[in-house]
C-alpha cells in the first residue's frame, strides 16, 4: 500500500505563488489542488476528462486537472478559478457570467470560466460556432448553454 511508496516533491507556481508540496506519484493535479492545497474551487465531476468541471490553466493552456498528474505540473504555472480575479477586480469572463445569468447551480462554472478564459486568450473574436466548439469539453446541465454562450460572446464584442 501507500506506506511503501514514497511521496515526491512537487514545485510549481499556483495562482502566482510558489508552491512546494509532497505528493503521491499517482495523485492527480485535481487531487493535489483540492486535497493538499485546499483550493476547492476546482470541481470534480467525472474524474475522467469528460465534463470539464476540473479545468485549470497550465502555462496558458486549459487542461482537465483530473487527467493531469500532480507531478506533471512540476516547474509549471498553474492558474485555478481562485487565481483569476485581480484582488476585488473580477476577470471579464467572471463578470460576464454574473451579468448574463450564465450560471445556476454553479458547479460547472469554475471550469467553464477557465476554459473560456484560455479560449478567448487565443481566439479573441470567435464566431458562435467556434466558441461552441471551444467550450464543448465543458458540460453544464442547468443552463442549456444559451446564457453561457451569450455571456462569453458579450466580451468578444467589446
Amino acid at each position: 500500500m501507500e506506506q511503501t511508496i514514497r511521496k515526491a516533491p512537487l514545485q510549481c507556481r499556483v495562482n502566482g505563488e510558489n508552491v512546494e508540496v509532497l505528493v503521491k506519484p499517482w495523485q492527480t493535479l485535481l487531487e493535489v489542488l483540492r486535497d493538499e492545497l485546499r483550493l476547492t474551487g476546482t470541481k470534480e465531476g467525472c474524474s475522467n476528462g469528460n465534463c470539464g468541471a476540473c479545468t485549470v490553466i497550465i502555462d496558458g493552456q486549459a487542461v482537465d486537472s483530473c487527467l493531469t498528474l500532480g507531478l506533471e505540473a512540476d516547474g509549471h504555472e498553474v492558474t485555478t478559478i481562485e487565481g483569476l480575479a485581480d484582488g476585488a477586480e473580477l476577470h471579464p469572463v467572471q463578470r460576464a457570467f454574473m451579468e448574463h445569468g450564465a450560471l445556476q447551480c454553479g458547479f460547472c462554472t469554475p471550469g467553464f470560466i477557465m476554459s473560456a478564459k484560455a479560449f478567448l486568450d487565443k481566439h479573441p473574436n470567435p464566431t458562435e460556432t467556434e466558441l461552441r466548439t471551444g467550450i464543448a469539453g465543458n458540460l453544464c446541465r442547468c443552463t442549456g448553454y444559451d446564457k453561457i454562450i451569450k455571456a462569453i460572446m458579450s466580451i468578444t464584442e467589446k
Binding site: 470541481k43 475522467n48 469554475p110 466548439t133 467550450i135 458540460l139 442549456g144 454562450i149
Partner: protein, 758 residues
C-alpha cells in the same frame, strides 16, 4: 400590495444573490467540506444485477492499517415504523429505503451498495473494499418492465403483492401497483370518432446528469448529536429520513445544506448520508466524508424512470377529440415507486376530453431505484401522447397547432384526475405560438421539418416557511430552510424587498440548517419560489404588523391606526405624525414587544398548473440518421416571471435536458443487467456544440393564488422536447419515431424499415 406597474423588484432580472461566490470558486459544495481528523469512505458495490448474498466477510478489510470502520446491512437498525414513506413527488417506503441503503439478503441492481469502509485516506478505503469477500448466488436479472410482467419472470421481492382496487392478488409479482382512472364512456368515444390512432412507445432509463456527484460529511458528537453536511434538495427531508432510518430524535439530527451542484429531482432520498453517519458512529465520532465518483453516480443513485406506453386517441373529422386512452408501464427500478402519479396527470393534461381511460403500472426491475427527474413521469408519456396527437391532427387534415387550439383545456375543464383546472394560460400561450416567427416563418430545404408539442405539469405544493428578522439598523435577514437549487435566495430577496417595501440591498437571505429555521419541505416539484411567495408575503405582513405596534407605541396611538408604505409609518387621521422604518427598527430592540421577527408559513395552497410548448426545426441526415437542431423555441405560461432571466434559464436548461433525453441519453444494459456506459463519455449528454440558441417566449397569465400569480417554472420545460423533435423528424422524413432516444442509429433503422422515408 403593489400593483404590477408599481412593483420594484418582482419582475426584474436581479443578479443572482450568490453569483460572486460561484464565479470565484468560493461557494462550498458537499465535497468541499474538510475537517480535522476526517475519514474517507468508499462503498463496495454489487457487480451483479440480481444476486442472493450468501455471506460477506469483511475481516481482511478491517485489518488494513488506516481502516477505522467497516459496515454492512447488519449495522443498520431495524426501523420501528416501517409503514412510513418519504419523498416529494415520488415516495419511497422506509422499509425499501433501508434495503436500498445497503443490500440485505439480495443485491437488486448493478451498483447496489453491499459494504462500506472508512479509512484515513481514500486510497486505503478503496484498497480495503477490494479485500471484502462476498459470496453471491447470481440470479436471472429482470431487465425491463415488459419482461418483468411476464409470468415466467424472476421475482425481485417474494413479498411484493400488487396494490390494486380490484381483487387482492394471491401471488407475488413484480407489479407493485396498478392504477386505473378515467371518466365517460370509452365505447361511445370510439364510436363517435371518425379517426382513431393507436401506437406503442418505449423509453429507456436516463440520468438527471447533475454535474456534482453526491457528497456529504457526517460527524457524531459525544452527546449523540448527529451533524451532517450534505448537498440534497431538502434538509428537513434528509432529517426525517435519517431520523426514521437510524432511529434518532430529530432535535439531535442537524442537517446543514451545502451548495448543491444540481439535483433535478435526483437528490431527494438519502443515499450516502446514513452510511457516513453509521461509519462515524462506529469509528468513535470522527467526521466521515463520502463522495461518489461518476461511475457510482450512474450505478448507485436514483435515475429517471423508463416507460412502456400505449396511447389511443379518437377524434371527429372537425378535430374534436372524442376519447383518450393510455396504458402506462413505468419502471421503478429495484423498489416500488415509479412516477405513475405524475405521468397520469401529465398525459392528456392539455386536452379537453369527456371520455378518458388511464391505466398505470408501477413495476420493479433489477435497476437502480429511480428518483424524480424534472416533471417525473411526464416526459415519456408526453412523447407518446404528443406524437399520437400529431398523427390524429394529420388524419383529420388539421394543422397541428390548430388541432391543439381546438382541443385546448380552459379554466374549469377537468384534469385527468377529474378535478377542475383553476386559472391557466394554455390558450394565450397557443395564440402566441400562432403569431411567432418560429411557427410562421417558412422552413425550406430538403430533409427538414418543423415539430410542435405541448406539455403540462400540475406542480407540487407542500409546506414552506420563512422568517424575517429586522435588525436594529433596519436591514433585514430572511432565514429559511428552503434549499437554494438555482436561485431561491435571489427570488426570496426580491419578494421580501417587494413586500416590506425596502431597498433590495437591505435584504439578505440565509439558507440555514434544520435546527435554525422552521420546517420547510424540499426544493422540488416547481414549488419553491411559488410557495415561498406566499410564505414571504405572510412573514412580511407579520413583521410589518410588529413594526406598526412599535410605531404606535411611539406615536401614542393604537396599532390599527398606523399605516405603512415605503419605509414610513404614519397615523391614519394625522399623516404628519410619522416615523421612519429605521427609527422604528432602532427602537424595536429595547422597547415594547422587542425585536421584530416575522414568521410566514404556507401548508396548503392550490396548485398552479403550468403549460409549455416547443417548436423545433430539424434537419435529418438520411445517410446517418443524425438529427440536427436548426432552431428551438420554448413557450411557457409562467404566471408571473419573478426574475425573468432566472425563469428563462430554468426553461432553457429543462428543454436541453429534454433534448438529451430525446436524442442521445440512455442507460445501456447488457444481457446480464450490467450497465455498460457509466461514464460521461459513453452516456452522452448534450454539449454546447450540439445546440442552437434556445429562444424563450413567456406568457404571463396569473395563477389563481399567491401575491403575484407566479407559477412554478422548473419542470414543464422537459415534457415537450421528445414529442416536438419526433414530430419534426416526421415532417422531415415521413417516418414516425416510437423509441427514445432518437439516436442516429435508431433514426437510421426507422428510415430503413420504412422504405427510407417519404
Amino acid at each position: 400590495m403593489a400593483t404590477v406597474q408599481d412593483r420594484k423588484y418582482v419582475g426584474q432580472s436581479i443578479e443572482k444573490a450568490d453569483a460572486l461566490e460561484r464565479v470565484t470558486g468560493r461557494a462550498q459544495y458537499g465535497a468541499d467540506v474538510f475537517m480535522s481528523g476526517m475519514l474517507y469512505a468508499k462503498a463496495l458495490r454489487s457487480p451483479h444485477a440480481h444476486a442472493r448474498i450468501k455471506s460477506i466477510d469483511t475481516s481482511k478489510a478491517e485489518k488494513v492499517e488506516g481502516v477505522k470502520a467497516v459496515i454492512t446491512h447488519k449495522d443498520l437498525p431495524v426501523p420501528s415504523d416501517t409503514a412510513t414513506s418519504f419523498g416529494g413527488e415520488l415516495m419511497i417506503a422506509l422499509k425499501d429505503l433501508q434495503k436500498l441503503t445497503m443490500a440485505h439478503d439480495k443485491a437488486l441492481f448493478d451498483g447496489h451498495t453491499v459494504a462500506v469502509v472508512a479509512a484515513t485516506s481514500l486510497d486505503i478505503a478503496e484498497y480495503a473494499t477490494s479485500l471484502i469477500q462476498v459470496d453471491y448466488e447470481v440470479l436471472p436479472p429482470v431487465a425491463d418492465v415488459v419482461s418483468a410482467m411476464d409470468d415466467s419472470a424472476a421475482l425481485l421481492h417474494e413479498d411484493l403483492f400488487t396494490k390494486t382496487l380490484g381483487e387482492p392478488p394471491t401471488k407475488a409479482s413484480n407489479v407493485a401497483t396498478y392504477l386505473e382512472d378515467g371518466r365517460g364512456d370509452m365505447d361511445q368515444a370510439w364510436n363517435d370518432a371518425d379517426v382513431v390512432v393507436e401506437d406503442t412507445y418505449d423509453t429507456l432509463m436516463v440520468h438527471q446528469g447533475y454535474l456534482e456527484p453526491q457528497a456529504c460529511v457526517a460527524r457524531v458528537d459525544g452527546d449523540g448529536t448527529v451533524n451532517i453536511w450534505t448537498s440534497n434538495q431538502g434538509t428537513y427531508n434528509v432529517q426525517r429520513q435519517l431520523s426514521a432510518l437510524l432511529d434518532l430524535p430529530q432535535d439531535k439530527m442537524i442537517v446543514t445544506p451545502m451548495e448543491i451542484g444540481g439535483g433535478f429531482g435526483g437528490k431527494i432520498y438519502t443515499i450516502l448520508e446514513p452510511l457516513a453517519i453509521l461509519l462515524s458512529k462506529k469509528s468513535g465520532g470522527a467526521p466521515v466524508k463520502m463522495v461518489m465518483d461518476r461511475n457510482e453516480v450512474f450505478r448507485g443513485t436514483g435515475p429517471g424512470s423508463p416507460a412502456h406506453l400505449t396511447v389511443k386517441v379518437g377524434a371527429k373529422n372537425d378535430g374534436t377529440i372524442t376519447g383518450c386512452y393510455v396504458r402506462m408501464v413505468y419502471d421503478a427500478g429495484a423498489f416500488p415507486g415509479s412516477p405513475i402519479a405524475g405521468a397520469t396527470v401529465v398525459s392528456f393534461g392539455p386536452y379537453k376530453c369527456e371520455n378518458m381511460k388511464l391505466e398505470a403500472f408501477d413495476v420493479v426491475t433489477n435497476k437502480p431505484r429511480v428518483q424524480a427527474y424534472r416533471a417525473p413521469g411526464g416526459t415519456p408519456v408526453g412523447f407518446a401522447v404528443e406524437t399520437v396527437m400529431d398523427m390524429v391532427a394529420e388524419k383529420v387534415g388539421m394543422d397541428p397547432l390548430q388541432f391543439r387550439k381546438h382541443n385546448a383545456v380552459v379554466e374549469g375543464d377537468l384534469m385527468t384526475n377529474n378535478r377542475p383546472l383553476n386559472s391557466i394560460g394554455l390558450t394565450e400561450m397557443l395564440d402566441q405560438i400562432e403569431k411567432h416567427p418560429s411557427w410562421t416563418s417558412p422552413l425550406e430545404g430538403p430533409n427538414r421539418g418543423r415539430g410542435l408539442a405541448v406539455g403540462f405539469w400540475l406542480g407540487a405544493t407542500l409546506t414552506s416557511s420563512s422568517v424575517i428578522m429586522v435588525h436594529a439598523d433596519g436591514t433585514v435577514t430572511v432565514t429559511t430552510g428552503q434549499v437554494d437549487l438555482t436561485g431561491i435566495r435571489t427570488t426570496m430577496k426580491q419578494m421580501a424587498a417587494e413586500e416590506l417595501q425596502i431597498p433590495i440591498e437591505d435584504v439578505n437571505v440565509r439558507v440555514v440548517d434544520t435546527n435554525s429555521a422552521p420546517y420547510t419541505d424540499l426544493s422540488a416539484g416547481s414549488r419553491s419560489t411559488w410557495t415561498q411567495s406566499i410564505a414571504i408575503q405572510r412573514a412580511a405582513e407579520n413583521a410589518i404588523s410588529q413594526m406598526k405596534a412599535h410605531a404606535a407605541e411611539q406615536l401614542k396611538v393604537e396599532p390599527e391606526d398606523v399605516e405603512y408604505a415605503d419605509r414610513r409609518f404614519w397615523v391614519r387621521n394625522d399623516p404628519e405624525q410619522a416615523m421612519g422604518w429605521f427609527d422604528v427598527a432602532r427602537n424595536s430592540v429595547r422597547r415594547g414587544e422587542g425585536p421584530v421577527c416575522g414568521e410566514g408559513s404556507v401548508t396548503r395552497v392550490q396548485s398552479a398548473p403550468t403549460f409549455g410548448a416547443n417548436v423545433v426545426d430539424v434537419e435529418v441526415d438520411p445517410g446517418t440518421g443524425k438529427v440536427k437542431l436548426l432552431r428551438y423555441t420554448c413557450f411557457q405560461d409562467v404566471g408571473c416571471a419573478i426574475n425573468p432571466v432566472q425563469v428563462e434559464g430554468q426553461i432553457q436548461g429543462g428543454a436541453v435536458q429534454g433534448i438529451g433525453w430525446s436524442l442521445y441519453e440512455y442507460y445501456h444494459y447488457d444481457d446480464k443487467g450490467v450497465m455498460r456506459n457509466p461514464s460521461l463519455l459513453d452516456y452522452r449528454m448534450p454539449t454546447a456544440l450540439d445546440l442552437p440558441m434556445i429562444d424563450i417566449v413567456l406568457t404571463e397569465k396569473p395563477a389563481s393564488e399567491g401575491p403575484y400569480g407566479a407559477r412554478g417554472v422548473g419542470e414543464v420545460p422537459i415534457v415537450p422536447p421528445p414529442g416536438a423533435i419526433a414530430n419534426a423528424i416526421y415532417q422531415a422524413t415521413g417516418v414516425r419515431m416510437n423509441k427514445l432516444p432518437m439516436t442516429p442509429e435508431n433514426v437510421f433503422w426507422a428510415l430503413k424499415d420504412n422504405g427510407n422515408g417519404k
